[in-house]
């Protein structure tokens, strides 16, 4: 029977996984070890500022286990969306860690670095040719958006990973990659069904999350065959059941019926999820409908402001009852006092936990029932100095505001910290979330081979 085995040690490189689980996975003789190292989940800051979401130490710890096992057993190791967002800075950061590990452990291998950061000139041309369209509820892309972006990445599919494998890569460190790509590349290269391979990748990209008890910090093994794939957590304390795997199929996607990627759309409408053995689930019926044109997702982030926050508690019931009025007073006072500054240069945001801090405008409960509130006063402005200024003034205004019926005259806010105001630096937004039509994915993703 034809079968290819894929080991996903962890749902996010740097989250950590038990060495025993990984060893159990290796005993099943995987053909490839792969992990996802990025996501847009943590917001636009990582891409914009060029930083990661996990520490170097944690990344190194996970990578050390993977690279050592890969070299010892001659198994390719593939990391996708390196460094959190998969731009150049993230790719270099990860590649340096890999080199450091290789030196320390005396490992030697052929490493492919797949670049995913996009040149702005190239995109301007594509835009002029009408080859860029919005992805989801976002406006049409403008030339200004491209100019303003700090960094832009394109999201690669299996194409570039396969190419790197064909070039003899034993380790692949790839820039921004579609989540299933790292897991599906080798199977698709070996002629396995791409629909099943991509669906399998979607399940594997979160580690053992599709098992129960689910977690991203443990290993999942997949066995891809000609007409199905089987998934099983390697840790005996966890198991897959049809509902956990089916549930994961719809996780973090807008529609459960289709897994959309650069290869096309995987239709899972007719999928079957069956208990295969005590801890394993068999999945069949996923079908790839290839798209007629190659559309690659673009992600870009631009710097929009600087932020300063102040955290404070409120415990006075007389004040809590009037919190909306207090907020209004502070807003009005700030506007009047800073009448020399354009209101467009800053904004003041009240996050009031106990009122609608978590859900904002989506919060259906209007009444405050808590005996205490947490306020995060947030000032965002065109520069850090102005953000600091607005935050400090709003804070002191609220601290000493004489609201109606006030009998606690010493101060209205309980600050857990000194200093009370915390500058948090630049604020970014995703200003590009579009699809670009290309003739060949190689236009966007170049492969660099390095002897380590």
């Amino acid at each position: 029977m034809k079968e290819i085995r894929v080991l996903s040690p962890v749902g996010m490189l740097g989250y950590g996984f038990p060495a025993e689980s990984f060893q159990k996975g290796l005993e099943k003789k995987p053909h490839v070890i792969a992990a996802d190292a990025g996501s847009t989940d943590a917001g636009p800051h990582k891409l914009g500022a060029g930083v990661g979401i996990v520490s170097k130490e944690a990344t190194k710890k996970d990578l050390t286990l993977m690279l050592t096992a890969g070299c010892e057993n001659k198994i390719p190791v593939i990391i996708g969306s390196a460094g959190g967002s998969g731009a150049e800075v993230h790719l270099n950061w990860t590649s340096e860690i890999v080199k450091e590990i290789a030196k320390e452990k005396n490992l030697h291998f052929k490493m492919a670095l797949i670049h995913a950061e996009v040149e702005k000139d190239y995109l301007q041309k594509k835009l002029a040719q009408g080859k860029i369209k919005p992805l989801g509820p976002v406006p049409e892309l403008t030339s200004k958006d491209i100019e303003e972006a700090t960094r832009i990445v394109a999201v690669m599919g299996v194409h570039s990973h396969i190419k790197a494998l064909e070039m003899g890569a034993e380790v692949i460190i790839a820039g921004r990659s579609n989540d299933p790509a790292m897991f599906a590349a080798l199977p698709i290269k070996e002629g396995y069904d791409p629909g099943l391979a991509l669906h399998m990748g979607k399940i594997l990209e979160c580690g053992a999350m599709a098992s129960t008890p689910g977690t991203t910090s443990d290993c999942m093994m997949a066995y891809l065959r000609e007409d199905c794939f089987i998934v099983e957590p390697t840790n005996p304390l966890r198991k897959c059941i049809p509902s956990t795997v089916a549930a994961h199929t719809l996780y973090e996607k807008s529609s459960p019926l289709h897994i959309i990627g650069p290869e096309g759309v995987v239709d899972v409408t007719g999928c079957k999820f069956e208990q295969f053995s005590e801890r394993a689930v068999k999945v069949s019926g996923s079908k790839l409908k290839k798209s007629e044109t190659i559309n690659i997702k673009l992600e870009g982030a631009s710097k929009v402001a600087y932020r300063t926050i102040c955290i404070a508690g409120l415990r006075d019931p007389i004040m809590i009852k009037q919190i909306d009025e207090c907020e209004k007073h502070v807003r009005d006072t700030v506007l009047t006092y800073f009448s020399n500054i354009s209101p467009e240069d800053y904004s003041l945001i009240f996050h009031i936990y106990g009122r609608n801090g978590v859900m904002g405008e989506l919060e259906p409960q209007k009444e405050i029932t808590s005996h205490e509130l947490c306020l995060i006063l947030e000032a965002v402005a065109k520069d850090q100095e102005l953000a600091n200024t607005i935050c400090a003034f709003a804070r002191s205004t609220l601290m000493h505001y004489s609201y109606k019926g006030r009998i606690a005259t010493a101060g209205n806010l309980a600050f857990p910290y000194a200093p009370s105001d915390i500058p948090t630096g630049a604020v970014y937004r995703f200003n590009i979330h579009h699809l670009v039509e290309v003739d060949d994915p190689d236009e966007l993703f170049s492969i660099e081979m390095v002897e380590v």
Binding site: T40, D41, A42, G43, P44, H45, L135, G136, P137, V138, P242, S243, A246, A247, T249, L250, Y251, E252, K253, S254, S255, P256, L257, V268, C271, K272, F273, V304, A305, S347, I349, H351, G357, V358, M359, G360, E361, L362, P364, V380, V427, Y428, R429, F430, H433
Partner: protein
């Protein structure tokens, strides 16, 4: 006899999460096939209900799908603010599910 049952007693999972930076998706996964089919039949959970619970217009509910293989109902809405932008309250979108917990299902005993 028909009585109102809280959805909390009928599900295994109710969650919200980003589906990309511009959309928020809700998963309601029922205990078992039988419960799922019963709830589906009542037609209580609809696109309209999602719009009502979140005080948004129906156009902002981008997808509403019953997914039989997972015994799940899934709805996706436009995020009020794109993830991490100015005015954000929940970068991962993981705590926007509470209004769904209020759903009551007329249930045959």
């Amino acid at each position: 006899m028909t009585k109102e049952v809280s959805i909390v007693d009928l599900v295994k999972v109710i969650r919200s999460k980003n589906a990309g930076p511009f959309e928020l998706t809700f998963d309601i996964i029922f205990k078992d096939k039988e419960t799922y089919e019963k709830v589906k039949k009542t037609k209580v959970i609809t696109k309209e209900l999602i719009a009502k619970l979140y005080h948004i217009s129906i156009e902002k509910v981008l997808h509403f799908v019953e997914f039989d293989p997972a015994n799940a109902i899934k709805a996706t809405i436009v995020r009020p603010v794109d993830s991490g932008s100015i005015g954000e309250t929940d970068v991962y979108g993981a705590q926007q599910h509470a209004p769904l917990l209020e759903i009551k299902i007329p249930y045959e005993e």
